[in-house]
Amino acid sequence: MDLSAISPTLLVASLMVASTPILLASIGELVVEKSGVLNLGVEGMMITGAICGFAAAVLTGSPMIGFVCAALGGATISLVFAVLTQYFLSNQVATGLALTLFGLGLSAMLGQSYVGIKPPTTYKLDLPLISDVPILGPILFSHDFTVYAALALVLGVWWFLKYTRRGLILRAVGESHDAAHALGYKVVRVRVLAIMFGGACAGLGGAALSLVRVPQWTEGMTAGSGWIALAIVVFASWKPERILLGAYLFGGVAVLQLNLQAAGVSIPVEYLSMSPYLITIIVLVAMSANRAKSALNAPAALGRVFHASR
């Protein structure tokens, strides 16, 4: 065992990269849930974004176009969910699950001819002097732009929800759609837009996986990150700043288990592999134990179908 081989600086730097896909997906899902919609299709939207982004980047040679297409792809497939749940008033849980299965199948089909192809390299920040500063350089100034984009998005969502009028409307819709409707706000329109934003974010998260973190395309490559993103939203009790904490915690455990293994720590790998999921369960149990407090945070209209009867 040689723990000194694990460099804390590099560990932090790589956990930031490793958690970016789930960070993007979960901040999007947070906005969706804040508007009172529970979309369980994050996994499906992520993987759709992963293949749309990958295909577009390979075809055009530009990772930027890839990311744009990933966001569009994620938003488009989320529109299916939006139409079904908002206009046809279908059950959100069932529709979300169907969206995940649909997304996994669709992406596998779209991706048939993209297996084993190298995508173009994504631009990475490399400032001549600043990136070489010890400790801070690798952590803050040497990532690809998705890491910064994700952080900016978290900040933006926090500001939007807390300080803007539109953010307030979105929260009002999520807390009580009947009251928001009575005040004259377009509940369905707000929710459709929120769902599409969530889809776009999940799509970006998928592309961060297929274009930056791996970078390659394989069927089912999201491997459950969409579900982790959903868990993080609950873990963060619907607060943007805690999303960041949750995502880095989950990403950190995943990176740490590989680091410990390489350092020769003789903990059975199975325990380390399941630890992120175990933490999810523990957090969910801990949260539901304190029902009054967690219920206070959850949007009151979460998962409820809205039908303007008057």
Binding site: D2, R213, Q216, T218, Q261, A262, P268, V269
Partner: protein, 356 residues
């Protein structure tokens, strides 16, 4: 009337179909990854294409890709056998028990299982001595590493993979006594995300050579992004990552074997056998050593390769001790195939514990 004519038509079609089937030899292939993985499955599929090219109309092949190891593979094999396959190649270690089970149900269908050790009257086993290639890789790795840390991405702790680690370590240590191996088990044959993460972690912990026993090119991409790291192509040449990071490779060449076995089925001479060929027989190929390797290292690697090829040197030649320090091979003694096939221990010097 109408129904009857349909039935007659169907019966006629069936007879016609089975008539044409009788002339063709049907060969099935069960793959563990996608044919586009650029590694293990890709090479098996190349060999399948070689079978088609060799026999043309006389053979019909079918394959199913990305079949999970375990019970689901049994369903795929059964399906192939029911579709009239005469010969089925099951190309991953984890298909071993399913192959034996299905073979018992279809005594007239011949099965060929790769890299396993269980045989039956209608089940042959075949594998390649990849460890010979690993010896060459270890030799180059020992010479090339500056940090003296070599990273190794293992798939599952099974004899085939452990042999590779040991062979690479022995030959790296031979040329560089300070070399140290860091091993990560990915517990998958093909998962680019995991493989990429594992490669990145190894590189972060100082490895400047990454060996992989998993099938995707993701570790190659990670090494390329990291810069000063070298890798070796696994199962396939992976030359698109040359001349650096990929400095050489182990290439599996199954085509001659697949063609010979298909021929044997056609001739009715097929018998259950155990085949384990190496560099000498051409089943294991070593990809071109690129310009990133200094000329003297390349020359000594090729000398080692030549000795492995003509059989004058065995990749496991004593003195070699086991990890716990107990003696395994005395000076000049070479390992017997039985021990190699069931290898479940590291050799002395590897500073890592094997998972159970």
């Amino acid at each position: 009337m109408k129904l009857r004519s349909i039935l007659v038509g169907a019966a006629l079609a069936l007879t016609a179909a089975s008539g044409s089937l009788a002339e063709k030899t049907k060969v099935g292939f069960v793959y563990v990854g996608p044919v586009g993985d650029g590694g293990w499955t890709y090479e098996h599929d190349q060999a399948r294409k070689a079978v088609v090219a060799a026999f043309g109309d006389k053979v019909e092949t079918m394959y199913v890709e990305s079949v999970p190891e375990g019970p689901d593979s049994e369903r795929v094999m059964t399906d192939m056998a029911l579709k009239g396959a005469d010969l089925i190649f099951t190309t991953s270690f984890g298909y071993m028990d399913p192959t034996i089970n299905v073979a018992a149900k279809f005594p007239n269908v011949k099965f060929e299982h790769a890299t396993g050790y269980k045989m039956a009257d209608n089940v042959s086993i075949y594998s390649a001595r990849f460890y010979e290639g690993r010896a060459v890789q270890g030799h180059i790795a020992g010479h090339m590493t500056k940090s003296n840390i070599v990273g190794y991405i293992g798939s599952f702790p099974i004899p085939e993979v452990i042999r590779g680690i040991n062979a690479a370590y022995i030959h790296a240590k031979d040329v560089n006594p300070d070399v140290q191996f860091k091993i990560i088990w990915a517990y998958t044959w093909f998962d680019p995300t995991k493989e990429a993460d594992a490669a990145k972690v190894l590189i972060e912990q100082g490895a400047d050579v990454v060996l992989q026993h998993t099938d995707s090119t993701a570790p190659q991409a990670a090494a390329q992004a990291a810069g000063n790291v070298i890798t070796f192509g696994q199962a396939s040449d992976m030359s698109e990552y040359g001349p650096k990071p990929r400095v050489s490779s182990i290439i599996d060449n199954w085509a001659p074997y697949y063609i010979a076995r298909t021929q044997a089925v056609m001739d009715g001479t097929w018998a259950s056998t155990s085949t384990w060929d190496g560099i000498g027989a051409g089943m294991v190929g070593i990809g071109e050593i690129t310009s990133a390797v200094p000329a003297d290292v390349k020359a000594s690697a090729e000398a080692l390769l030549a000795r492995l090829r003509d059989g004058s040197y065995h990749a496991f030649t004593g003195p070699v001790n086991k990890q716990d320090g107990s003696a395994w091979l005395a000076r000049g003694e070479t390992a017997d195939d039985g021990t190699l096939l069931g290898m479940g221990f590291y050799v002395q010097g590897i500073d890592s514990e094997m998972p159970n």
